[in-house]
């Protein structure tokens, strides 16, 4: 079908059939504010922020759900449209708490931005304030329904993207609010702590549980040795909050900044990821020789692990028993390194900086401690860490780069690409190939599993064996894949599951962005680090091999199992 011609703000633009005015305008660089619009999902037209004026009829129509038609004439920023938008914001503010100065989203709030853009300078409407309880029951998230504007994006992301449905609209009319079934806390709901709801929330109604204060007090305590690990997906995203180009890898400057803040030792989580690769590849090889159970699922994404425990408990034996890189490195630091260093593990505080809110939940799972000593004491998200850098007055542009600490400072780039969907698979295939054949994979890059596709498949020939593998991100996609496996339609040997769409680079703890280009550049950054890296496989990481030699004997040894593996069980939640 031929493209249509539409006139927007006196410019004649091409539109394809079925395209919305919002999309045509956005391609032409015309930015129309939206509060409820979600890229890739059908429009709900709930917020009315995106109304545009149709010339001729003079009607205001929400552009998110207005299909373009040939010859239409639209003004996106006519006085009438602007006036309507300003009124919408004023009405939303009528019962909004006036505590922007104290709000966790101060500076990153969409409602605040629109209020500013539309020139709202006074409270014209005074509505009755709602007084809902804060939900602080979750280890990962805080919900403040008083700040909610009922755009419904959190409900949609939870249901339509993640297939979880922990929250929904409750009540009716002015008493409508977002909540869990029976007004329970998130902790007893089916919430998997992924934080994708925070990423889409336009206000401060949803936020990560801020634990910076605990880290700062540990840094201040002269008796405490503070050890930090930072996840592979942090160094390519943290720059964004400091005005540095998205996709810039600043791992060395980040180390430098952390030393200035007073962290005593810094290890990259990628070292833990390399360790995970070895243990997980070994587990895969064991399963291949002993006949299963298949498919084997990865276990590094704690949102997925909880999801499996509550929705697919029949898969507990299919999920790899490997702890995640965070918890492996945590165990190695607290249980091996402290002994080598002659430090009291009770006086070592292990901070983990993660792109993830679910990691806050993971570090408190059973088996993640040695006696009373936790392997990881606090998990900070990228955003919390950003706030700390700002609080400490550090200019990331000026800080000089520094390497991480030994003995766990060396990483392969296999452990770095963990941050992108497909990365764990690629890293594990590289090492499993080596374990089975003794050779290196002829082409280290497993391109089939890269990219943002929700479900990716590949077959890798390892010796005589053809390994059928799938990579899935976004748990709604995982549901589809698992259902097709349970129905017998599909079968695989090995499946990587990442909770967040695209993997950790788009994790629930990352800097806010709604721009897919930004997320893409984060992924590209990881793969260019990989292609330029001297060490690209976990099994070539010399310091990791030394760790095995000195302490862990060999992959899958009794000792490795004690320290680096865990178990799962069916989980009763309000689902």
């Amino acid at each position: 079908m031929e493209n249509m011609k539409v006139t927007i703000n006196n410019r004649v633009l091409e539109a394809s059939h079925g395209e919305t005015v919002l999309s045509v305008a956005s391609r032409a660089g015309i930015s129309i504010p939206t509060l409820c619009h979600m890229e890739g999902l059908p429009p709900t037209g709930a917020c009315r922020m995106c109304v545009v004026e149709e010339i001729g009829s003079g009607n205001l129509i929400p552009s998110c759900s207005l299909p373009a038609y040939d010859g239409m004439d639209i003004k996106t920023h006519s006085p009438k449209a602007l006036n309507a938008r300003r009124t919408i914001v004023e009405l939303l503010l009528a019962n909004h708490p006036d505590d922007c100065l104290y709000c966790i989203r101060n500076g990153t709030c969409t409602l605040q931005d629109y209020s500013e853009e539309l020139g709202v300078r006074q409270r014209r409407y005074n509505g009755e304030r709602s007084t809902y309880d804060l939900d602080v029951s979750s280890p990962s998230l805080v919900r403040d329904p008083d700040k909610c504007i009922l755009c419904g994006k959190c409900v949609r992301v939870c249901e339509e993207i993640q297939g979880v449905s922990a929250i929904d609209f409750v009540g009716r009319g002015s008493a409508t609010h977002i909540g869990c079934a029976f007004e329970e806390g998130l902790n007893v709901s089916s919430c998997i702590n992924c934080g994708q709801c925070i990423m889409v929330c336009p206000t401060g109604a949803l936020a990560e549980k801020d634990e910076t204060a605990r880290v700062i007090s540990a840094l201040r305590d002269p008796d405490i040795t503070v050890v930090a690990q930072h996840a592979p997906a942090i160094s390519v995203t943290i720059a964004e909050d400091f005005g540095i180009k998205p996709g810039t890898d600043i791992v060395d400057r980040m180390n430098g900044a952390m030393r200035r803040m007073g962290f005593d030792y810094i290890f990259p989580t990628s070292f833990g990821a390399d360790l995970t690769v070895i243990e997980e590849a070994n587990e895969l090889v064991q399963r291949v020789t002993s006949g299963g159970p298949f498919p084997m699922f990865t276990s590094c994404s704690p949102g997925w692990v909880k999801f499996m425990e509550q929705f697919y408990p029949e898969l507990v034996d299919n999920v790899s028993s490997c702890k995640s890189p965070q918890q492996m490195l945590g165990a190695v630091v607290k249980r091996i390194w402290t002994r080598d260093k002659k430090l009291d593990p009770k006086k070592v505080f292990h901070v983990s900086i993660m792109p993830c809110t679910a990691k806050k939940f993971e570090c408190d799972r059973p088996g993640m401690r040695d006696g009373t000593v936790r392997d990881v004491d606090v998990v900070l998200t990228t955003r919390e860490f950003d706030r700390m850098i700002k609080m400490f007055g550090i200019d990331l542009e000026q800080v000089e780069g520094e390497p991480a600490d030994n003995p766990y400072g060396e990483r392969s780039s296999a452990g770095k690409i963990f941050g992108a969907s497909g990365g764990v698979m690629e890293a594990a295939v590289r090492t499993a190939f080596h374990m089975i054949t003794g050779d290196e994979l002829p082409n280290l890059e497993v391109k089939d599993v890269r990219g943002f596709e929700g479900i990716k498949e590949t077959e890798v020939k390892i010796g005589d064996l053809v390994v059928k593998a799938a990579v899935v991100s976004g748990l709604g996609n995982a549901r589809k894949l698992i259902d097709s496996i349970l129905s017998g339609e599909k079968s695989y040997h090995f499946i990587e599951v990442m909770t967040c769409p695209g993997g950790c680079i788009a994790g629930g703890g990352q800097p806010f962005t709604s721009d897919p280009k930004v997320i893409r550049s984060r992924m590209m950054a990881l793969y260019s680090i990989d292609s330029a890296a001297p060490v690209r496989t976990a099994h070539s990481n010399a310091s990791l091999m030394k760790l095995y030699e000195d302490h862990l004997e060999k992959p899958g040894s009794h000792k490795a199992h004690e320290m680096l593996h865990t178990s799962y069980a069916e989980r009763e939640v309000l689902k």
Binding site: E159, A166, I167, V170, A181, S190
Partner: protein, 155 residues
């Protein structure tokens, strides 16, 4: 209510989907008097719906309750005639006296409170009904006395 009883109701809706949610909720509440967590869970499993969704739908309608009814169920008429004649102060007096929000039941299980649109006794406005027993042309200061009389009955 027993799991068997709920399953009996659910079995009357074989292969049902989300479109049967409201009739199922009505049937279960008809049997049980309210929607318990356990029954919502079972309904969710049967209709393949998350509990959050069921709760969301059920709270949209006034007819569903989530706590068992009290020994004395108080219906407060908030219809037009009663409103004009001052049913709001009556309702406020009740919520204050019972320390109870509409839709809820007191911890001792004695009283539950419900707002109804019109009970067809406009000539008696403002009116409340306690287990079907009408109290007509009320003033808010009569409420403590009325509640006390039911408290005595309960002993």
């Amino acid at each position: 209510m027993s799991v068997e009883k709920i399953n009996e109701i659910l079995n009357q809706y074989p292969e049902a989907g989300r479109d049967k949610l409201i009739p199922v909720l009505q049937d279960v509440q008809g049997e049980e008097g309210y929607l318990s967590k356990e029954s919502v869970r079972l309904i969710g499993r049967h209709l393949n719906l998350p509990t959050s969704k069921i709760y969301g739908v059920a709270t949209f309608y006034n007819q569903f309750r989530f706590e068992p009814m009290g020994k004395f169920h108080i219906q407060v008429c908030r219809g037009t005639a009663c409103h004009v004649k001052g049913s709001l102060p009556v309702l406020e007096a009740l919520t204050k006296e019972l320390e109870l929000q509409p839709g809820r039941t007191t911890k001792d299980g004695l009283f539950s409170l419900e707002i109804v649109a019109c009970i067809g006794a406009c000539g008696l406005a403002p009116v409340i009904a306690v287990n079907g027993e009408f109290h007509a042309r009320l003033e808010s200061d009569q409420i403590p006395e009325i509640i006390e009389s039911y408290r005595k009955k309960a002993v």
